[in-house]
Subunit: 433 residues, 2 copies
Amino acid sequence: MLNNTFALKGTFCYSKDPQNLIVRENAYLICKNGISEGIYDELPACFQGIPVIDHENKLIIPGLTDLHLHAPQYTFRGTGMDLELLDWLDTSAFPEEARYADLDYAQKAYQIFTEDLKRSPTTRACIFATLHPEATLLLMEQLENTGLKTMVGKVNMDRNAPSYLKEQDAVASATATRQWISDAADRHFENTFPILTPRFVPSCSDELLGFLSEIQQEFHLPVQSHLSENPGEIRWVKELCPDSLFYGDAYDRFNLFGKDQCPTIMAHCVYSTEEEIALIKKQGVYIAHCPQSNTNLSSGIAPAARYLREGLHIGLGTDISGGFSLSMLRAIADAIQVSKLRWRLIDPSLKALTLPEAFYMATIGGGSFFGKTGSFEKGYELDAVVLDDSSLPSPRPLPPLTRLERLIYLSDDRNIIQKFVCGNPIFSNTEDR
Amino acid sequence: MLNNTFALKGTFCYSKDPQNLIVRENAYLICKNGISEGIYDELPACFQGIPVIDHENKLIIPGLTDLHLHAPQYTFRGTGMDLELLDWLDTSAFPEEARYADLDYAQKAYQIFTEDLKRSPTTRACIFATLHPEATLLLMEQLENTGLKTMVGKVNMDRNAPSYLKEQDAVASATATRQWISDAADRHFENTFPILTPRFVPSCSDELLGFLSEIQQEFHLPVQSHLSENPGEIRWVKELCPDSLFYGDAYDRFNLFGKDQCPTIMAHCVYSTEEEIALIKKQGVYIAHCPQSNTNLSSGIAPAARYLREGLHIGLGTDISGGFSLSMLRAIADAIQVSKLRWRLIDPSLKALTLPEAFYMATIGGGSFFGKTGSFEKGYELDAVVLDDSSLPSPRPLPPLTRLERLIYLSDDRNIIQKFVCGNPIFSNTEDR
């Protein structure tokens, strides 16, 4: 399919910028070698005769990018939700992640995750695995086969973790990471790539962060981690790193905090100080805003609207399984919802996120971490999700943006009937389910 | 079926009290004339030979009561969500409700609502219609046929509403209400009953509230309305009723605020003052806590955990379509989620709702407005929802309460495979869908 030219027909909704959602009704989106050639009301003469996939009456949106989630935690999403972050890690996350030392378990558990991700509205994702290199490679293989574009991290953690889920020391962690990078390279994956993944500052000694910095510079890998999520966590980081000026500084002093040479995603940023925000902006760090997780783990509400409006890089994450829902459409709704509560309860000067703003974050906002993705404008890699809202009956016809809003609030996997990544069909709902 | 005795077999979860969820694995619930005879590990000798509906491996919970929703607003749920309460009423709710003057439209739109309610986990509901008596009767007929137990209100509104959705004056509103009550009585409904429904204080003149008080005392009808939802609304009520001590007092001075003779539901109570809370408690007013709506309309977060722990009557409402989801299982999750944010952002002295507490509110909490419903203990009317979680695969077996928690966070209509109200089967998922 990659070298093919074809057209998608339907009603397209995509972001021009954070304030404006574009609608093109009953139009043609041309795909050439996986790249958008733009949207046309009629098929241009030079494209007459190309195959047309007709999704008339359906809405078609750019693929959504999930900037932050933990694949091994998918098994227990929606359980143990009465706990706060640090207790939840000890009670739910760590014991479950330890199971992935067993490759049979990992195979079975990751298969459930990858199948559901394939059917979700997500086309790209940045994913935490566990500290186990073999299970991480297994996850990467499964993801490779979905056709989705993903970055996957073998997690590093050499301190402040239970003995059953901790690497022996910084050297062992770094060695395993190098081996994992080498093994991943040997597989010649086309869709899935390694991303360095120090779990978070409390789990990583300075020595380990130093090694990871060397590895980052050697292999030019991107980085993902957690930042300023929960008050208890932040106090802990302050104790652990008395010399750091703020939480993010503890990554930055090891050159693991953005800049051109080190594309970085930091999840949460609920309590980032002004200094931290300034450094995030200056060094182009991506913020993964995870509203559902921040709610479930009683963390708080990040000022996502401020970040977006001040021009920081920000996308959305489901944070499985601090968040229980894998749907990035729901993440859009969640982001809007919590921003309203933040406006009402904390800061009336920061207006709630609008639908176009939250949609932008889920498409171009996070998508740009992968390059030119998240839009249908000419030159973008063509990721698309075809949405069928016929299961949401209405006694009167609704305009496209109203239909899109309803799908954002009310859709489930049944509404997602086809998905494309770089022009390749990932699945069709008429097929194999 | 009503005069039958039968058993349901499965794994039962129900509340003993707000702190304790009972689990009975692979047990038998006996139903006799629509009433629970209790749960047994083995079928007792005296019941040998009765029909057994075998839902082995399924979870069975009491039917859920939706204490507050607007049926005519179901058509636009999940749309227009970027507005606050009073603007949203003017822009979304009022124009749509006006359409129900047209009985063809009402028939079509209400059919969508009643079909979905039938398939939802709700077995009982207190519902606002519109001000139109004919359309309200039509809704009642449709609901009657579902077999669900419902209370339905023709809405009263004689001021501060657009001319296209306002009754001529208090006399006209009262006259229409009496006629509607009489017409409803003539239909001899067995499942659906009228409930007096002054929209809210801003929509009802003192004269109208006076007439409704007379009607209430004459027909001994219950009452439902809105209370202390949004700061803008509360300021407005203060202007409209300068003599009222607080918002609730504006209902109470017309004897439309609880006490034995006047069972009353007040939706929201986000900003109730200490005086108002004291009167709610003293007069046994039911609070319909609507977490999703209070979020969507940027209203705030009600101190639901306080109300419950202080022994006030409190249940949950979806508040369609301030809330967009009809699922009372989602309402349970929403209630827990916002209570966590309230704890973190407003009041660390009020611990978040636990799963057992929120489950209690959705079952016995709201159900008790209908009498002895919401539990499987002997003597309760037997409303039950059968949940199939096989669409949520797990790589390892999960205990029943963990399965229940997952269903609360992750289920949709596909997980609801059968439902009973007073022992009558409402639908079976193997059937007609």
